[in-house]
Amino acid sequence: MFNKDRWKEILEVLTSNWFRTVLTAFGVFWGILILIILLAAGKGLENGIKQDFSGVATNTMFMWTQSTTMAYQGLPEGRNFNFKLEDVDLIKRNVPNLRIVSPRNALRSQSGVDNVFYGTESGSYRVFGDYPEIIFQNSMYTAHGRFLNHNDIAKKRKVIVIGDGIRKDLYEEGEEVLGTYLKIQGVNFMVVGTYKEKSSNGGNQNAERQIYVPFTAFSQAFNRADNVGWMAITAKDGNSISNLKEDVINTVKQSRKVHPDDERAIGFFDLYEEYNKIESLFTAMRWIAIIVGTLVLISGVIGISNIMLIVVKERTKEIGIRRALGEDPWSIKKQILMESIFLTIISGMFGIICGTLFIYGVNTLLDSVGPVDMFLNPSVSVGVVTAALITLILSGLLAGFIPAQSAIKVRPIDALRTE
């Protein structure tokens, strides 16, 4: 392996026709470059999309009421109904393995009509009535002050947590926000904290323009009694909400006197299922990248194999001489194989280096122009690069195999006869 003479010979052979060697190497170089760029681009897209999910509890479903479509227990079809606060406890009791059941209410904000006032400033924002646990389900964190707590709920405190976007809209730069009052539809609430989005370096600014009110205070202030607008339900880790969803819906159907077969009375959105769809989309994309890249790589490897065949043909006489001088056929085979592997690895390494530089360049560009929607930090893992290297060694071996075989098939006497 580390025989100086052998390596000297490999270099002599490969450098004896520079242009041809470079052209041949280009095939493998190109294959591995495309493989790496495709994988990195896929990863960039994946990172970009997944960023929108960052901090969101993806094992979550949302559930709301619609109108019934079947008569049941003396109640007519077409009936509108609401979830009640007691349903939350009922769900928690009936369906084990749920981590968080958050009842939620919201004020309908009409666009263009301001519903929140601070001094002379005003704006139109979405206002939610929520339990403190909502912070674990949405992708937000407390930037300043505090978030809602259970005392707020119990004492029906009229306090709010506002998004950082609202602070920018309504307040002066550097103005103290905590302890100020915002008037929401005629009711004053004290600001106790601000929050920020975990994933807000995209164009997701609207998410930081929401207001969170303690659920109980919200119900009282805006006359919701014990109605619940919708629920956000997260399963415990290790349990899929998609599997628990049926139980949850059946529980509320029963408590709200909805016909068990009424499919349309309760609407829901299974975030986990959607997330999994995206996940499998990326898996598919990764496979496409791998397959396309590998196919291009294969054509490069075939190129190498082809050239090695030509080299063997050209060196038929030389091989004959060597065998007449007593070289072991195995040694000749090894020589051809090593030439092929060497060429493959060198050109592949060069491809990997260029691919990495390319990705580095794209990342630098992305950093300098600021965040781009749905694309973030394209990269390939060390594992992928290692796998690519192993593939290269194997394909070099494969590329050299047929030529090496044909080299030792040459009988010295025939080889010497070729003038």
Binding site: D5, G320, I321, L325, G326, I408, L416
Partner: protein
């Protein structure tokens, strides 16, 4: 040194086969210098190839230094060639991207002699053929006679039992031919066994024994008075 009994060889040419060697009986003692003569098609090259283990015989016996040469696989044949035989070809057959000294060192490399010893030995043999100062030159920078002398040095480097020369002067003018023959005679003087295939009378007469082949059989085998090549150089 070499013993051959009833050697037959035929080549298949499509449907009909060509019987090239039709029962050769022949032996060579150590230290002999034998010329194998014959017109083209007489089977002399085939005989040399079989002697050189480059080709196998169909039937018959072949003993080289009391080792029966039979049913060799390529690996074994390569080993025997390396150990027993040195080849000199009409077209020199030097490896053109290797310098003279590397060419000479090649058989030693296959014997897995270490690098330093290899280099020393190769230089010693180049010195013997008078080309020491050409050691680092590529074959393309050498004249025909010089190339053949490098080839002879290469053949000698492995210290073989028998040196086989296939038309060693075939590609050379007569003056150079005599120089090469002079070298071959001197190597023979040192006790080496040498077989030379040639169709040139004057070259044949510089050997000690002439074997005439015709149509696959030996028609004449005689010892002769050796003509020294020195006087023509």
């Amino acid at each position: 040194m070499i013993e051959i009994k009833d050697l037959h060889k035929s080549y298949k040419m499509g449907s009909n086969s060509l019987h090239v060697l039709k029962g050769i009986n022949f032996s060579v003692e150590e230290g002999e210098l034998v010329a194998i003569m014959g017109s083209s098609g007489s089977g002399k090259s085939t005989l040399l190839n079989i002697l050189g283990m480059l080709d196998g015989a169909d039937s018959g016996e072949y003993n080289l230094d009391n080792v029966p040469i039979k049913d060799l696989n390529e690996t074994k044949a390569a080993q025997y060639r390396n150990k027993f035989l040195g080849f000199v070809f009409q077209s020199f057959n030097l490896i053109n991207y290797k310098s003279a000294v590397e060419n000479v060192a090649l058989p030693l490399y296959y014997q897995k002699v270490n690098r330093k010893v290899r280099q020393e030995k190769a230089l010693k043999y180049l010195e013997q053929v008078g080309l020491r100062e050409w050691a680092t030159h590529l074959p393309s920078e050498l004249s025909g006679g010089q190339k053949q002398r490098v080839a002879i040095a290469r053949a000698m480097a492995a210290e073989p039992k028998v040196l086989l020369a296939d038309e060693p002067t075939g590609a050379l003018d007569s003056k150079t031919s005599y120089e090469v023959m002079d070298l071959i005679q001197k190597i023979n003087d040192a006790g080496n066994t040498i077989l030379v295939v040639t169709h040139e009378e004057d070259i044949a007469h510089m050997c000690k024994r002439i074997v005439h082949l015709k149509d696959g059989v030996i028609v004449e085998d005689k010892k002769i008075e050796q003509v020294r090549a020195e006087q023509y150089v």
